[in-house]
Subunit: 256 residues, 2 copies
Amino acid sequence: MNQEHSGSGDPAKSLELLWRRRPAPTRGPKPALTVDGIVTAALKVADADGLVAMSMRRVADELGVGAMTLYRYFPGKGELLDVMLDTVYGELPRRVVPGDWRAALDEVARENRELYLRHPWLLQVAISRPPLGPNVMAKYEWELTAVEGIGLTDLEMDATVSLVNGYVHGAVRTAVEARQVIQRSGMTDKEWWLAHVPHLDQIGDLEKFPLSSRVGTAVGNEFDAPYDAEHAFEYGLERLLDGVSALVGNRTAPEG
Amino acid sequence: MNQEHSGSGDPAKSLELLWRRRPAPTRGPKPALTVDGIVTAALKVADADGLVAMSMRRVADELGVGAMTLYRYFPGKGELLDVMLDTVYGELPRRVVPGDWRAALDEVARENRELYLRHPWLLQVAISRPPLGPNVMAKYEWELTAVEGIGLTDLEMDATVSLVNGYVHGAVRTAVEARQVIQRSGMTDKEWWLAHVPHLDQIGDLEKFPLSSRVGTAVGNEFDAPYDAEHAFEYGLERLLDGVSALVGNRTAPEG
DNA sequence: GCTATTCTTCGTACAGTGTACGCAGTTGAC
DNA sequence: GTCAACTGCGTACACTGTACGAAGAATAGC
């Protein structure tokens, strides 16, 4: 995170925007822009250069208008982010895998992962109170479908879906960070490590960390880097679903 | 994230700062500040008001000096963050639980959780290339100790430790976001929900989301909020360790 | 003690940020 | 034709990290 926040304005205005229920004005000049047009431009900027680059001025430039013009369409930047979020959630295929909760949860994880990879700025948006737009709500409904009817309580269903979502968020965040730091520094992980080793040797406390040295070397040899995103994602997801499996298995088995 | 980054400067300078190996200058005026003093002031600001508030000017104010003075001690804000990170990692008790990998990993998770809760700004610091200070290295060594000698490969040891760390990061991030949004909005989750319901009813598509309605209601009744941090953390950690258990169990059992 | 060198503190400046305020011009309702 | 409603947007404010260079302090070498 540096977290970016949702709009804190009144729910009526936010929901009006999310569900496109704004009544068209009868008088005054015809608006030059549309909500969808602004969101498209903002998504273009955010996808290309990240949330940091997505300033109101930059989005306005993209549309050939002044910065303050955007405030005729959105109460503030927070509300624009809300609509951007709901919009990209609409990209989820939301494929349903019936009869196999593990495959269904796997699908949920992978679709979410693809979405984060396509829109890495999503990782920086705080969603503890998600914008209640059509696609946000459809996403939650779809995720619950994956764990419906397998013997979990409603609370456990919610907790499981949250757990998978949290896992994917963390895994992709780590992967994206790793990718971005290579870009920003112009250095691969190996180069970075090799630049540090001589100075660390000089400090000379390395023998106090025998496990780190052994494991670090093994990881470096395997991946040419201290971190491999693909491997980490698969490993973690398997552990996680195994953990859920232990719970589901207990639940469907007769109680002792 | 809005991610804050580490210092990208040369490793020599960074390691010198992290390990406090800067040679004391012989000539010139006596420095008015120390590295530790600046870090303490910066931690005070970050703990109290978050990373957003921790500007160079604010830290300098805290110390009664001009903003540019700090640049005599640190090449830039990134390096200051690096030393802050290594410093708070030093707060970990690093208790070792011998002979029981599950209890040991549980301890790792809980100590990390406490650290994040005490210093929520840690959640916003990108650590894909961690500052190689004494406490960062000791932390990794301690975490590996928890899974040493239980039949995992070196790669699996690293992946397991990363998985637990990633899980804790995500769980605390969600919890902290939830706490902060209450502060910022001056609204409890229940109040927020009740403010939205009438407008959602008016939009009238709620019957398209039956699972969400049922599960959401159950969660709301149980916790008076759509999210309970304590419950989510315990539930997720148990699933995670169960998943690791499945792997360790396979490994220690004789191979087919 | 004198001077040259090194090291300190820090004021100013620059290009950015979100958005409050208010003005000028355009459109449709009456 | 008049007025209210509406649009676009210029300006301003308080912030950010930090490059640059000036002014002064402490010491090494003589």
